[in-house]
Amino acid sequence: MTSWRIAGDIGGTFTDLVLSDPDGRCQAVAKVLTTPQQPSEGLITGIEQLLESSGIDRDAVEHVLHGTTLITNALIERRGARTALVTTRGFRDVLHIGRELRYDLYDLDIVMPEPLVPRRWCFEVEARVLADGTVREPLLDEEIDRLVDALTADGIESVGICLLHGYRWQDHEHSLAARLQARAPELDITTSAQVLPQIGEFDRASTTVANAYVRPILRRYLDQLSTALATLTPNADLQLVLSTGRVAPAAVASEVPIRLVESGPAGGVLAGQATAAAVGGRHALTFDMGGTTAKACYVVDHEPRLTDRFEVARVRRFARGSGLPIQVPTVELIEIGAGGGSIAAVDELRLLRVGPRSAGSDPGPACYGRGGDQPTVTDADLVLGHLAADRFLGGELVLDTDRARAALAALPTGDGTPETAAAAVRRVVDEQMAAAARMHAVEQGLDPTRFTLVATGGAGPVHACSIARILGIPRVLSPGRAGVASAHGFLGAPAGFDVARSAPTPLTELTVDAVTALLDELEEEARSRVGASSGGRRVVEAELRFRGQGGTVTVAVPDEVHHDPASALSEALEAEYRRLYGRVPVGVTPEVLTWRLSYLDTPPPNLPMRGLSGSHRSERPAWFEEADGFVPTPVVPRQDAEGDGPMIIEERETTFVVPPGARVKRHAGEVLEVLL
């Protein structure tokens, strides 16, 4: 791909934009306020700014790609369309019955997430298929009539259809959708087969109605945006960034908008991946720490790890199971309730806890001097000398060290000095983040020591080296311009689409012809969604298990599958199983449950961005675990950072803290590499 491209990330507060030339070099950056009422307005303003500041011809822009929090926000704020669910007779309560499980075993006052569709708009049809495909009750025309009347009477805009066993036996869903659409052309219709052809009626119904709920909104938005872009960048095609970090044409995104739900964070992960790749790192742990949350993602062989277990709009932050399940492929983010604003407190066990409560930006940490008096991570970082009181956000906000010290001294831990308390806060929060990353690695059978940690976000580079040391990670990277990382990451996103199909079969019953035909079919399906040129590649994975097991093991499908599928896959399964769990059970039948195929175009070139140059140099005492106390630490601008730690690299958007015993190396594009 050799063309001028624009990437835009519409976030909650700011819309970030980056313009890159045909070689993948960033030529202009813009940051404008997000316009929540008409999100396209902010984006358009930003594009105009980019064109103006770079002076390039608008006709030269061939791609506009963008990610958005529009979908997530609509789900969190419940601003979606009037949506109904249609399901099989006897199962209208599938959303309201759910898993029957509380996400907290001990909270008597627990609140469960409210389904997106109220019970009054959950409808049933008689059509019933059994698990083996036997049609027990056909789909009748009079039911369609009755249904259309009911939907119209309630003013329903969008419908999710999720019939029992529709993951495999899709005829009823297709037929119901077609006949509904014929009778009610203005109705927006999503089938579960289209969104998530996987077994498990609650998760599938939840995902289906979520897609239905947001689709009219995304369609309206994309219509507006396309109209505006037709004059602004007439030669550009519009692409959207999916939660997988791949881009797809706008038409595909508007069919399955639920696949955009994590597009913003996916951009951050891609930026981390690109940074690691630029200095030769195949495996990266991207680490983004902001004001209230830290997010990490493992990137293996340049590919972010994906999951299809995701949930949105959690009733309780960071509590698994307290949100609405959305099972679409998504970068697998490890989210921790730990950020600069996270509050430290001592619990009933006299143990220090940090987060998930956060002082946010208002009142903010004690040192902001805006009325907050509870000690936070930022207060600890300030007292430990990692942050400078007079150069936070480029000096826009002067931090109040006395308030930070007072808040920390009030913590009943250690010897009562602010320094001791701050060191304890630091240990606890760093361990918490490392623990989450380690737990994840254990579950996935990954070895963190083989990864490169890439730090972004305001607080990420402050804590990155400590976390890397805990995890045994030998190398930490800090890219320039972390503030527009997501938008920049989008520029490196390959066109691609991921499809999956459940087809449980014992490995011994697989035939070469059947496997080849299935994979070709999946490839065709994915390729048609990518809409891009040929020259892409396909990546095939299979979810395997021993028959009867619930969990599956995902393996890369080797080429030998086209010669001897049974032994190729069972060898792969056994090897992976042994790696994860040590022993392989005997006397059990291996089977394939689901095939996953990704069709990926070559990623476009995307070079690291240059940092903003600064000139401030100084020295201050900073605390390090390695030194067991404070040591004099030089403060340098990015372009001069080189040599042995300790060292602090101070920038407008963040501060990179390098401990004693580490070595700093500066790469092209001003990526800083720290070897621990």
Binding site: Y106, R427, G551
Partner: protein
Amino acid sequence: MSLPPGKLEVLWSRLVAAADEQAAALIRTSFTPIVRDSGDLSAAIFDDRGWMVAQAVTGTPGHINSLAASMRHFLDRFPQPAPDDVLITNEPWLSSGQLNDFTIVTPVFAGTRLLGYVGSTCHAIDIGGRGLSADASEVYEEGLRVLPTRLYTADGPNQQLLDLIEANVRMPRLVLGDLHAQVVGNQVGARAVQALVEEFELPDLRELADQVVERSEEAMRAAIDALPDGSYHSEVTTDGIGEEPVHVRCEIRVEGSHLTVDYAGSSAQSDRGINVVLNYTAAYTTYGLKCALAPHVPHNEGTFRPLTVTAPEGSIVNARFPAAVAARHVVGQFLPFAVMEALAPVAPHARMAQGSGNVWLTTIRGTRQEADPDDGEAEFVTVFFASGGTGARPSRDGLSSTSFPSGIATTPVEVIEATSPVVVEEKSLRAGSGGDGERRGGLGQRIRVSVRTDEPWRISCLADRLHHPAPGLDGGGAGAPGGFHLSDGRVADPKLTTTVAADGSVTLDLPGGGGIGDPADRDPDLRRRDELDGFA
């Protein structure tokens, strides 16, 4: 142990993570929905004295301290374990109160130095005998009983024991597969303990355990100390078996920082399998106490120290060997209600109307129309869980069809139907089944099942509250009672196995939760919403 501030937090969180990793590995490698979807398992880390120091938070309070208690019995019998030993038992009085729960313990070594133990308890899908019903009158009828013994040694698996299990259970592949999953999970936990000890250069877990236990005990004592000294009472009545209801009488004595729960005066043990061993009584009692007093204090040796749970031997909550115990949860899961009701006057956090109570466990057995293509078996057994409504809370309605006090998820209908010939005809909320009140109880649900078969099939359902619905609190109404209806109109006790004609069906009506407060005080907006959505 003198540690810089923040360090104990780090070590403790590693211990908890080790138990979580262990549980996660067990769930992922398990062969049965009851474990992987319903979470009927527990995992814990012990020091070399057998003190439990960390337990994973999983779905079942029934294992809370029963796993810890079983550890003592293993130590008694195997005081000097060897590397590569793996120990096993399912003896109800030594572990968690029914034969289907296997407890497996793996000693953890660094070289030849014993660091501690990891253990897990996990529900086996079958253990022979009469299946999971209240049918039996002695434990001998309920299946295979394995006293604490070695499952593995340095020489490999105890093949004789495995053969014996294989020969005595239905679906032996799944049962043995899950035992394997437990062993694998323990290994993952053991590796995490070894890594912790190595990284922080600890001789073993003892000093860390002392800190964990001391702090937890102290926090539990502080919570008890906050209650006024005195004696508090309650009584809960459930259906029991046949015409004989079960009464649970509960007295809670608070003396300073110590709390005793005494079940004197409760019904005598039953001649059917609804009896509870004291371990299980203690587990659900502790669960209720923790919800009411100290939800955030973790489970370990220290947490239990300020608590005493007693019940007269030979009573329904402290049954004497060889009582039948398979369906013990139909009594045990009502104990938190007794505890919370007794404490309600002094612990405002414990105020909550009673709910549907025990999770309903349905077992269906029969013959397929065609043998399973994979293993050639025509016989099938399917087990699934379902829950009724929970009781109303002072500030909120109860939760509809949600498991409480257990934390057991239901199995998706599509999975039940894909793995067995059972057809679920309906699974819907029962309108109006929540007790009325300022806050209403959660709704129960209706589940109707049939089987694709040419032969009669058998069903048992560990149901309750058919005759004793969940009472309301402070003027709130009772929840709707449960029901068990055969399509041919016969009346049967759901807890006992019933045979159904090939073309018959069975309807399970799960009970609703009780309401709180005067119904006249209910917010009219909530009433309108309930009407629109058909909840009332």
